[in-house]
């Protein structure tokens, strides 16, 4: 039976864990065989499959998936696409994908050293704000859900805190970026 997007809420931690376990066990062997045939190793296969799950999650929470496209087709399609892209970038082999993928695969930009340093700083000196903005922007949780999870009195209070966090983080990031000379 084909599972479609509408049946799974990936924002729910438990549903996401079950879905990821299920897909990993069922679909990773296909991706592994494909990557092996294309000259990759186990680590390569694991990397592209992890990236594909992350992209699927981001598309799902942003409501950018068509319900007609089954999760499973999406995952294997995107993993293959990512492998072709990686192979080209690594210049291991000049290959092109002749496979039709009925969706956009976003660019996968690696973090810069400055971004990694800034994130490390925020994880240690601004964790609460980072978690709040993560729930809002990355998980795209509704403000009502967020206010409950973070103990705010309501959506308005959560929104006020969001602004305070952005202001605080902006100052931290600005100060550090200028210190590192990393500002256009």
């Amino acid at each position: 039976m084909i599972q479609v997007v509408a049946h799974i809420n990936l924002k729910d931690t438990q549903q996401r864990k079950e879905a990821f376990e299920n897909w990993y066990e069922k679909l990773f062997p296909q991706v592994a065989s494909f990557v092996r045939k294309q000259g990759g190793d186990l680590q390569d296969a694991q990397d592209v499959f992890q990236d594909a799950l992350i992209i699927l999650y981001e598309k799902s929470v942003a409501d950018q998936l068509s319900v007609e496209v089954a999760y499973e087709a999406y995952l294997t399609g995107i993993a293959k696409h990512l492998w072709f892209r990686k192979s080209k970038a690594d210049k291991k082999q000049m290959i092109s994908s002749d496979e039709e993928i009925p969706f956009d695969v976003p660019e996968w930009k690696e973090a810069t050293p400055t971004e990694n340093t800034l994130l490390h700083l925020l994880e240690h000196a601004g964790k609460k704000c980072l978690e709040l903005l993560h729930a809002i922007y990355y998980d795209k949780q509704p403000m009502e859900v967020i206010s409950k999870a973070f103990g705010f009195s309501g959506a308005h209070s959560a929104s006020v805190q969001k602004h305070k966090c952005i202001q605080k983080m902006r100052e931290t990031v600005k100060a550090k970026s200028l210190q590192y000379g990393d500002f256009e």
Binding site: K17, P29, S33, A111, E123, L133, H134, V173, K174, S177
Partner: protein
């Protein structure tokens, strides 16, 4: 503070692509004549990038934990055996 909140909200809407075309153009024009606004937009955009980076890092940790369980759970030994056979790992 109110002005600051308005600016943050407007910048957020701009970065998330929620402004109408004419509003977005007007906002961009304002950044050209207001260097402080331009800098604030730059750093607010960087916050969005950092939050995405954090989200991906957290999600990857979740996935790696699932991966680790699948490869190390004795009840899933067939899965590991199958994958290792694909890569000729003994």
């Amino acid at each position: 503070m109110e002005t600051s909140n308005n600016e943050i909200a407007k910048t957020e809407a701009y970065l998330l692509g929620e402004l109408k075309t004419d509003e977005a153009l007007l906002f961009e024009a304002r950044t050209l004549i207001d260097p402080v606004l331009k800098m604030n937009v730059f750093f607010q955009k960087r916050i969005h990038s950092l939050v995405q980076l954090y989200g991906r890092k957290k999600l990857r940790t979740e996935i790696k934990s699932i991966e680790h369980q699948l490869f190390h759970n004795p009840q899933k030994a067939d899965f590991k055996k199958h994958i290792h056979s694909i890569f000729n790992i003994s």
